[in-house]
């Protein structure tokens, strides 16, 4: 078993994400509808489609280029606050993977850690604010722990999925402090955050891809 994802596989993974978020469009928007404006799924689908279009017909030298191009185009197509936030996951993975042709647990770990820092810096959210950070932060922490423990890429990613899911579930009982839901104050309690949900989906999808006989 190879413990890495190659440059071509990164491209495949990213392309498959676009199709995946297209499918999840309604579901993700429905979370946002309750305590936001109901467009999160639509916005993500539009962004991922643009990311896909940007890399579909090119052959890049390394994985970093794919991540970076994907991220910048996704960001551009999404706009809003969520564009730079969600896009940062891919642009930061891009920076980490720049010049690299094989991406292992180390690169994913470093990339997601950088993404977390960037998102918290940009958006000012901390864990507990009922945002995507609540899924991303425990997942990034779990990746780091797994890397230190020396587990396989798949196992590390599965640990991250579990952590992201837990974080996502915890957003239900939180009061929103960032984004549109913050204006609902206590009325935001009792509902799951859309961005945390889509972030959990991302880890889940990456993990599926790794385990899916593709590697």
């Amino acid at each position: 078993m190879k413990d890495i994802v190659t440059t071509t596989e990164v491209r495949e993974l990213l392309i498959s994400l676009a199709d995946f978020y297209e499918e999840k469009k309604e579901e993700l928007s429905s979370y946002d509808a309750v305590i936001g404006d109901g467009d999160h799924g639509m916005t993500l689908a539009r962004g991922f489609a643009a990311g896909k279009e940007a890399i579909e017909n090119i052959a890049a030298e390394d994985a970093g280029i794919y991540f970076k191009m994907f991220g910048r185009n996704l960001m551009g197509a999404m706009g809003g606050a969520i564009g730079p936030l969600f896009g940062s996951i891919f642009t930061e993975l891009g920076k980490t993977c720049m010049g690299k042709k094989e991406i292992g647990l180390k690169e994913f770990t470093d990339g997601f850690e950088q993404a977390l820092l960037k998102i918290m810096d940009l958006g000012g959210a901390v864990p507990g604010d009922k945002t995507m950070v609540d899924a991303l932060e425990p997942a990034a922490a779990e990746l780091k722990k797994s890397k230190e423990e020396g587990v396989s890429l798949l196992e590390g990613m599965k640990n991250a999925v579990t952590a992201a899911k837990r974080g996502m579930k915890e957003t239900v009982s939180m009061e929103a402090k960032r984004g549109r839901s913050q204006y609902l104050r206590e009325k935001s309690v009792g509902h799951q955050d859309a961005g945390a949900t889509s972030t959990y989906f991302l880890f889940n999808k990456i993990s599926d891809f790794i385990s899916g006989g593709n590697l």
Binding site: M75, G79, G83, Y183
Partner: protein, 335 residues
């Protein structure tokens, strides 16, 4: 949703097309992207001024691009920031060597994208960009401590910042001075609004909240952000007293001050009502010994079809007065 539209997905594109058709003598788009609007009026060596933000606030932002005001503007979908790439495209188009000033409202999405655009402009294009964040809504948060970033939202008062900075740039001041004047106008302006009805974002199709048939919400934001007090509708004079009281106390505006006043309709509120409000503002200010240099009354920054209005006060000194009084010619604003 009672709107005269086609597919909500085409709302932005169709609306922008209409603007380019109606105002083809004044504005055009850059980068083949309708969301990137620039003025046809050019002045070599002038500081460029750009703004941007979500759509749904016409005449904000597009309507102020023209002679003596702004040079470019990027808009996103309704109540959504445009992207950093788009803002970069506008920045490149309007820079003529003297640098570019961004003036936009204090909202997360806009900040994320425009900060990125500014970084790219600097790093990739060698264009110096400065930023002034409109944060005039006294209802949205307390005043910020000295040196701290404001957490207040930007609303209609940004019109005054556009006008003063636009005049400064048109007088060929350099970027530092244009920014200084924008900062001063920004520091001197305060706004407060009241909403009577919600508004409907076309892609969403229904109102995100409701206001009772006999209710109003003082301090509601121009995207429907929760205000500071919901209650029964009161007589116009009483509403003005409450809003103006908070505005005046905040800066504060004092006896002997000279101000400009903007009475801004949020969308569905008639000009009649705006003038009824103007009348009482004039009474209150003259009682307080504050003199009014100019009134602006009408729709300057809307929240789609929301009913309600806002009051903005700009404290003037001789410099700001000169900037405010100078000519401007844009699709929506002439003076």
């Amino acid at each position: 949703m009672k709107k005269i539209i086609n597919e909500p997905d085409n709302y932005l594109k169709e609306m922008l097309s209409g603007i380019y058709i109606a105002h083809k003598d004044m504005v055009t788009c850059t980068d083949d992207d309708l969301q990137c609007l620039v003025s046809k009026y050019k002045k070599e060596g002038k500081v460029g001024i750009a703004t941007g933000g979500g759509s749904g606030h016409l005449p904000l932002f597009l309507g102020y691009v023209g002679e003596g005001m702004l040079d470019g503007c990027c808009v996103g979908d309704v109540f959504q920031s445009p992207s950093a790439e788009q803002m970069l495209a506008v920045t490149k188009e309007i820079d003529s060597g003297a640098g570019v000033l961004y003036i936009y409202g204090n909202y997360n999405g806009d900040i994320f994208n425009f900060d990125m655009a500014a970084e790219m402009a600097d790093m990739e294009e060698d264009i110096r960009v400065e930023t002034v964040l409109g944060a005039d809504d006294v209802a949205s948060a307390g005043p910020s401590a000295p040196g701290e970033k404001s957490t207040r939202r930007g609303v209609a008062g940004i019109f005054f910042v556009f006008k003063c900075a636009g005049a400064a740039a048109d007088k060929m001041m350099d970027l530092d001075n244009v920014k200084r004047i924008a900062d001063k106008a920004n520091a001197n302006v305060r706004t407060m609004g009241v909403a009577l009805t919600p508004c409907v974002v076309p892609r969403v199709g229904k109102a995100g909240f409701s206001i009772g048939e006999d209710e109003m919400e003082i301090g509601m934001g121009i995207h429907g952000e929760t205000g500071i007090r919901r209650g029964k509708i009161e007589p116009a004079d009483q509403i003005v007293d409450e809003m103006l009281g908070q505005i005046v106390a905040d800066l504060p505006y004092e006896s002997g001050d000279e101000v400009a006043v903007l009475v801004n309709g949020l969308g569905a509120t008639t000009l009649d009502e705006q003038y009824i409000v103007t009348r009482h503002i004039d009474e209150v200010l003259s009682e307080k010994g504050i003199s009014v240099h100019r009134y602006y009354v009408g729709e300057y920054a809307t929240a789609l079809e929301m009913a309600g209005f806002s009051i903005s006060l700009l404290k003037l000194d001789d410099e700001l007065k000169e900037m405010l009084d100078s000519d401007a010619k844009t699709p929506f604003f002439r003076q």
